[in-house]
């Protein structure tokens, strides 16, 4: 369904001819494989639909005009910036893609610890600006090369720093948003006084329709600017690094310590987390390097931090007795960064940290106490800049299991989940054999602790049909296991009800059928009503999960009967 010339010309009028294209060489690049999008659909030739045009707006007013134009011509649209996964891409043929790359400003109000960010202010940029002012920002697990705004308004947004800095939803202050019908809403103080410091109210918070546990994944219009809460940073205004990639050394991080904690049991792990939450000692806490897999993680870190070693050396490094012994010691582990805002603060936190370890019988990994390795971990977790490592083993991965956010539920199940994966690794060839347990993720999915944000990395070859198919089958298997344990949706299936395996949007009838068995149907019925109120032309895809209310269905049925 090609766009009319009139529509295309109108787009050109809004953003200028240089900032709109329907050239297939351009539009083809705005398609996404659906094999890594929390829907793990595959096979790899399945891609999201090709947009009719790609538009690069330069300001909020241009976005508003584009959205109004789309409503006039009933053309779908979706905005994205750093395009992490399928969530940012359109879901039907009669749509255009907004690429927000031209809107990239970030400003820091140091005194009030607030940053205002446009869509293409990526985590790294925001962090650099924040650090100049003794501040830092929560960088979501997606990494520092992704849009801060997208993590805050579009998706989940927790990461290593969330234990002390909260998650994206919690840090979100004022928001500027172009609604699906083209109206602009500015939340809280922004709407009334042009100030960014509070995004709630007046009265019941309108932001309730934009940001729940996830953001809207582009399904409620276009977020054009946000303010976020910043957090204290006790390090230098910038982090001087030296050495050769990828093994940089860091200078000036005297108030920051990085440790890997080795736990004797999963019970101790859960109890350790509880104490970390209560004692307020962690600046960052993430089970990071286990993403490579239990059997190979230490060897991988050894290679990544060695100037001459390559991945082909992996088998040899794994056989190194020291590496093997260290690896065995940290089967159950977590990386923690402790940061002192003063000398006394650091001293207290170190003592508290040691007291927790003593209480649960855990200890610090000797391997990770080596200065070079400690620097590597500090830089890795503080900046979260090494997302390429996620892809190192096989070119692609998908988050899997998810287990329970309650660490006391998830931890006792970890060995069973690991065994399930290990068995698959040994009996199939499509999923990388890394030792079963490849669980990783945030020690806290909520500010101050209380829930965890875990996933098992399923490493697969994103360019191999059999590998994708096999990893899909594995996730089907783990989903069965999850349901059997009463744990809900596997993370690899979170978005399975948002976009169909062919990359297209669901119909309302399909969504109605999917949600018919919800224990509390209001969960999907109210979003239907919200969509009808704010997105009457249904132009923004089906990540907004909706179910037709029974009274509307009955009316529709009666109307049909009447017609007959």
């Amino acid at each position: 369904m090609a766009l009319t010339k009139e529509f295309y010309r109108a787009l050109e009028d809004i953003v200028g001819p240089r900032n709109v294209s329907d050239d297939p060489a351009v539009t083809e690049n705005y398609r996404c494989i659906t094999a890594q999008s929390s829907a793990h659909s595959g096979p790899y030739e399945t891609r999201t639909p090709k947009p009719q045009a790609v538009v690069l707006p330069g300001c909020t007013e241009e976005v508003q005009q584009i959205v109004k134009l789309c409503n006039k011509y009933k053309v779908g649209f979706k905005a994205a910036t750093t395009f992490w996964a399928a969530m940012g891409y359109i879901g039907n043929d009669n749509s255009i893609q907004l690429d927000m790359i031209r809107m990239d400003q970030v400003e820091v109000d140091a005194k009030n610890m607030i940053a205002t960010c446009e869509p293409f202010a990526i985590g790294a940029t925001v962090q650099v600006e924040a650090m100049k002012n003794g501040l830092n920002c929560n960088i979501a697990g997606v990494g520092c090369s992704s849009s801060t705004l997208a993590g805050s308004a579009g998706w989940v947004g927790f990461g290593p720093s969330s234990i002390s800095m909260g998650i994206a939803s919690e840090n979100l202050l004022g928001v500027e948003w172009v609604l699906p019908d083209g109206e602009i809403v500015r939340t809280g103080t922004l709407g009334s006084d042009g100030e960014w410091f509070c995004g709630e109210g007046p009265g019941p918070s309108p932001r309730a329709i934009f940001r729940g546990w996830t953001g809207t994944a582009g399904s409620m219009g276009v977020c054009t600017k946000i303010a976020i809460r910043l957090h204290p940073w006790p390090g230098p205004k910038w982090i001087p690094t030296r050495g050769a990639a990828p093994m940089y050394r860091a200078d000036g991080l005297d108030m920051v310590r990085a440790y890997t904690v080795c736990f004797p049991t999963w019970d101790a792990y859960a109890e350790g987390f509880r104490l970390f939450y209560e004692a307020d000692v962690c600046y960052l806490a993430h089970r990071q390097f286990n993403m490579f897999g239990r059997d190979i993680k230490t060897a991988m870190v050894e290679i990544l931090t060695h100037p001459e070693k390559q991945f082909r050396d992996l088998p040899e490094v794994m056989e190194d007795p020291y590496i093997k012994a260290q690896n065995d010691e940290m089967k159950i582990d977590v990386q923690v960064v402790v940061a002192g805002l003063t000398e006394r603060d650091l001293d207290y936190k170190e003592k508290a940290f040691d007291a927790i370890l003593a209480q649960i019988g855990a200890h610090k990994s000797e391997y990770y106490l080596q200065p070079d390795i400690e620097d590597f971990v500090k830089l890795y977790l503080l900046r979260l800049a090494r997302k390429n490592y996620n892809y190192t083993l096989c070119s692609s991965y998908e988050g899997n299991f998810g287990l329970s956010p309650n660490v006391f539920v998830a931890a006792p199940l970890m060995e069973e989940a690991s065994a399930l994966k290990r068995e698959w690794e040994q009996t199939h060839t499509g999923v990388a054999a890394v030792g079963g347990d490849s669980d990783m993720g945030s020690a806290s999915g909520i500010g101050g602790g209380g829930t965890t944000g875990w996933e098992f990395f399923v490493h697969f070859d994103g360019f191999d049909r059999d590998s994708i198919t096999d990893s899909c089958a594995f996730i089907d298997r783990t989903q069965e296991w999850m349901i059997g344990k009463g744990l809900g949706a596997d993370m690899g299936r979170w978005n399975a009800d948002a976009r169909k395996p062919d990359g297209y949007d669901y119909s309302q009838e399909e969504h109605d059928a999917l949600y018919a068995g919800l224990p509390q149907p209001a969960l999907a019925i109210y979003p239907w009503k919200i969509r009808e109120a704010f997105n009457p032309n249904h132009l923004t895809g089906t990540y907004m999960k909706t179910m037709t209310p029974p009274e509307v269905k009955a009316a529709q049925k009666a109307k049909k009967t009447q017609k007959k």
């Binding site: 019941p204 309730a208 546990w213 329970s404």
Partner: protein
Amino acid sequence: MATKDSLVAMLGKANVIDDPKVLASYAESHSFDLHFAPWFVVKPKNAEQVEEIVKWANKTKTPLVPVSSTGVKLRGDSVPSVPEAVTVDLSGMKKILNVNRQQRMVVVEPGVTYDQLNAELAKKNMVIPGSLKPKKGQSVVTDVIEAVPRLNPMIQWNFFDPLRCVEVTWGDGTRMFTGEALAGPRDLKTQWSRQQWQVQYMGPWITDYYRLITQAQGSMGIVTWASLKAAVKPQVHQLYLAEADDLTELESFVYKAMWTRFPDEIFILNRAQAANIMGKDAGEIMQLKEVLPPWIVAVGVAGRELIPEVRFEARSKDLIDIAQTNGLDLKEGVANLSGRALYQEITKEDTGGTYWKDVYMGSHQNVFFLTQLEKTPVFLKAVREIAQDLGYPTEDIGVYIQPKHLGSSYHMEFTFPYDPNSAAAEARVLDLSEAVSVAAADLGGYFSRPYGKWAGIQLNKDAQSLMVLKKLQGIFDPNDVMNPGKLAV
């Protein structure tokens, strides 16, 4: 009388009240806004009855006004703004449904009060993060849902902490849980058996349902339980105080302290408000005003279960140093006010006699809004000027400034005591509070909790947010049965 019969059939005779004296007591409040006595007061015992009442109200188009606290009504939000309303009194729903030390979570019904909850939490060495000297009979759930500022903003990663999940019956009669609790069966016991403790408040999908009942004055639905995040009870604690002659002298210290996050509690009082808190009668308040410094910043430091003394000592020394660097002397007391005594007063419910802000003159009016710390002196100056113009004694104005949400915003509250037996005094304080409200709004004060006339002032500033709000009210309360007249422009 069909209405009464219907209510009695739902709730039993004893729980449907139409005694005029009792009805009149539900209309008493400190608010000057137009209000009415309710038609009936009903006292449901559980969520099922609440749901039934809301469905009945939709059928009969009867306005409902929820109230969960007992005692003096301070803001008028739980007093009907329209005639022939039914007040739904939830103060009898006083069950503490669950206390979980491992998760530091508690689930409570709306009638649970601070003293009741803290007595229960103390058995497990916990405490609920509180607001400044809550009135006797204050519902914890209402206090939290209405975003009354907490004394400890450092554990507010989210604006509405410690609120987590709720059970709500929306204005359309739909009853549901919110947050993680909405993803499971609508049965707490089943969720607990699965070790789901209503910790995670968001969503659980895109829509953040619980945010729709916050700051709503009961205009969206009725909450029948809420889960709240408790804190570990301090083993060692000191509320340190520092004095200043001028509010601006406190700014750099408070900003720096907020950056460190070392304080537990942190807030600012002027001498009048400190005297109001501590004074047992008008005479004592006057005496205190003679000796207290013009401004006091209070900073709490705690040590809890893990190496409490080490934490306490480190935090105390650091904060004292930071204060010194910023020209303040942070110590255990100022003048004859000890930090410990102040802490004791502000962390427990009021006595149940005359409300503490009324002790000095017999009654009071409050004006409060959100702003940023650096702007507070501008508001202070404006308020003093207005008071002077109207002949109100500026030395009687109480000021309380409370950081919220890790210091993202600051609650600024002005208290104007007055003699309710003097028509002239009452008229003057009415003029004063209205003029201050308008001036504060003009200066950028944000009435995030828009009670009474503030609704018109605030909502008229932003047509788009109002449009969103109206659409949401149309979805969740299509027949406008929930506390109509509130949040009105």
